[in-house]
Subunit: 412 residues, 2 copies
């Protein structure tokens, strides 16, 4: 299928797509093909007014009374419950708080403490670097050993010394999705607890935390959830752990009686114990408004659209990009794929820069990955074809090897 | 001086006040006397447009490129440098990150690790509760003992087993200010490190972290800095510790080469090592804009205005409030006072509620404290007199004992 035919086919797919109009819930710059929603999600149309209201009417007019009158106090739980519905958890199992790394720290310490006498944490070797750093720090503080493994070999790494296994649901570089149900089962069979990072799956894949028996999960608000730059993250803990889990970051908002200002910490019942300090309310209310983009959608619908986009891209990549020096890194099987496609290319940095100059935003991951995210709520099938066309043209014109990119690459 | 005379005197003080017009840098509701800026600072006039720009133009139009084009990446350092100038630190000693509690966790662990072989942390017994909880958690993780002391007796609690001393510069309940220079000197004489919480002093008092030789400090963005609800907090580390301090929360933004996505953590040089995850940018840019309210002011000027306000309040309290059952908790000596005045009253909760119904916002601290904050950038001398008048009238009319407050007090 040449690219002109592909464009017609894409237009047809968009026309038939039951979710096509969901794009109207976002404000995207005209003419831009935005394939970096897995780094920073697009701005929801409702968000500017919601943030303006939070600033001017709530903060500006009601001031400190807003903690009650505008229900700021409950926002971490209220927004947590909305996220819970997107990731297959119960409303009372998710709370919004802190950053993903800080939440992972809490979850790893809490999980390890629930398995005393076991001294090994198993971590996905290719996990997002911060997840590795946090795991190393937790191990250092608790006197544990970290075993870094390939998730595909997880079985052979599990023994009765393992307290916690920590993985990302979707690999941030390759876009590979792991089998949460099977891995969590294996982890439990070994008597350990499973902690999942949903940064690259929540909001794009069908995530079934409770059905998979996941113990703890963390995730990020600003990728497929579109919560805005550095939006607060979330922490999930299965209800069965609520009574016994203990966070290493006991803050006043996670106290059983936060306003009694007691000198000794007593965790709030339930998921509130994963709260710590006062949440950044403007960013949190932006996230809340952004989540409205999911209203009326089911995650299987969202996932179907994501797969339709990535399948089209993969089909075209095989036909048009492999011959231009690109190698597809992302698995071809639907069940093994997140919502992104990653391509290896020797001039990956230059390719991404040249694409951006043509109005196609993807991102570069060191040292040689071009990462294209297909955020299922607003990327169109026609965007897929446009991206492929520009990738071909960039390489054919040698724009990826333009010396301005080479210079910049050395300083990044 | 009766309250009519006092009002004339206050009008005169406001008229002569070189900082009187600074109030115009804020948007405050008409007719409200806002004495809770030590809980949530007022909205700066520049903030709505700054946040609107961050949402619509930066996030909405430039999307992920904003990390470079709008310099989001450097915002934690850029805003940190502005705060540094308000607290007597060098620009490269302060970074904005996380919440106060999370920063205290980093600072306490980092400080304790710099004094290996010493196993006691000394903590102010009346510290903000979350500071106590965090200290207990740090002690638990590092195998230390916590000694809770009265800061006025700090000398007798220091010995060669003490690694870290952690105090608040101003007590959140009583408004007492501690002598940072003398206490830090005593801590150093004992071979320990000093960690100060500036939540209730930064932006209102003259804080001289470097002149006092402070090792680490943390503070909050949403009180006298007016950064908005839950604004990100900040962490200060003296330059002499930069090369050796080690944060227990190593995130990707605090890595020496954050974009190389390396599997092993290597701290960024300098204060950047206190960064962790991606910062909540909308809240952070609100804080940045809010700090503009300090432009052109010196902290001695700000402090002089604060003292003028609290002195007037204390004078009137002695004359008009003590007879109505109020007891002044806050020290009378200027050097021992923050920017708030706290009153004990048996019906403190009812007093605060009745005041609010009259348009005077103060706050209640369990079990019997009425806390009145005199944010020096926007509270007027006339507000002081108005507050005293309402306090008198509330008690004379028995409004503090209205049964609606009694009912609510039991459920709070």
């Amino acid at each position: 299928m040449d690219l002109t035919e592909a464009l017609h086919r894409a237009e047809q797919l968009d026309a038939e797509d039951p979710l096509a109009r969901v794009r109207e819930r976002f404000s995207l710059p005209d003419g831009l093909v935005y394939l970096d929603g897995n780094s920073l999600g697009a701005l929801g149309s409702s968000v500017p007014a919601a943030v303006g209201d939070a600033v001017q009417r709530q903060w500006g007019q009601s001031l400190v009374a807003s903690w009650n009158t505008h229900d700021w106090w409950d926002a971490p739980r209220r927004v947590g419950a909305r996220i819970a519905r997107l990731v297959g958890a119960a409303d009372d199992e998710v709370v919004v708080a802190d950053s993903t790394s800080v939440n992972l720290f809490k979850a790893l310490v809490a999980a390890a403490r629930l398995r005393p006498g076991r001294a090994t944490m198993v971590i996905e070797a290719g996990n997002f670097p911060a997840d590795l750093y946090i795991a190393d720090s937790v191990a250092d503080l608790l006197g544990l050993t970290v075993r870094r493994v390939d998730p595909l070999d997880i079985g052979s790494s599990l023994d009765d010394d393992v307290c916690v296994v920590s993985l990302s649901h979707v690999d941030y570089r390759t876009g590979r999705a792991y089998d949460m149900a099977a891995i969590t089962r294996a982890v439990h069979d070994a008597g350990a607890l499973a902690v999942w990072d949903l940064a690259h799956s929540a909001g794009a894949l069908v995530v079934e935390l409770d059905d998979c028996g996941v113990d703890f999960a963390v995730g990020c608000g600003y990728k497929y959830l579109n919560g805005g730059p550095g939006a607060p993250a979330y922490a999930m803990a299965a209800r069965r752990h609520h009574a016994t889990m203990r966070s290493p970051l006991p803050g006043w908002t996670g106290h059983a009686r936060p306003f009694a200002m007691e000198g000794t910490y007593e965790p709030a019942p339930g998921i509130d114990a994963m709260r710590c300090g006062t949440p950044p309310m403007l960013s949190l209310l932006a996230l809340e408004s952004a989540l409205g983009a999911f209203d009326g959608l089911t995650m299987p619908q969202v996932r179907a659209r994501s797969l339709s986009l990535t399948t089209l891209f993969l089909d075209l990549a095989e036909e048009h990009l492999v011959a231009h020096g690109f190698e597809v890194v992302t698995p071809r099987r639907d069940a093994e794929r997140g919502s992104q496609v990653s391509l290896n290319h020797p001039d990956a940095y230059g390719v991404v820069q040249a694409l951006a100059a043509r109005g196609v935003v993807a991102d570069f991951r060191h040292p040689d990955i071009v990462r294209l995210g297909f955020a299922p709520l607003y990327v169109r099938h026609t965007d897929v074809v446009t991206a492929v066309r520009h990738l071909v043209e960039v390489v054919e014109a040698g724009e990826d090897r333009d010396e301005q990119w080479v210079v910049r690459a050395t300083v990044t």
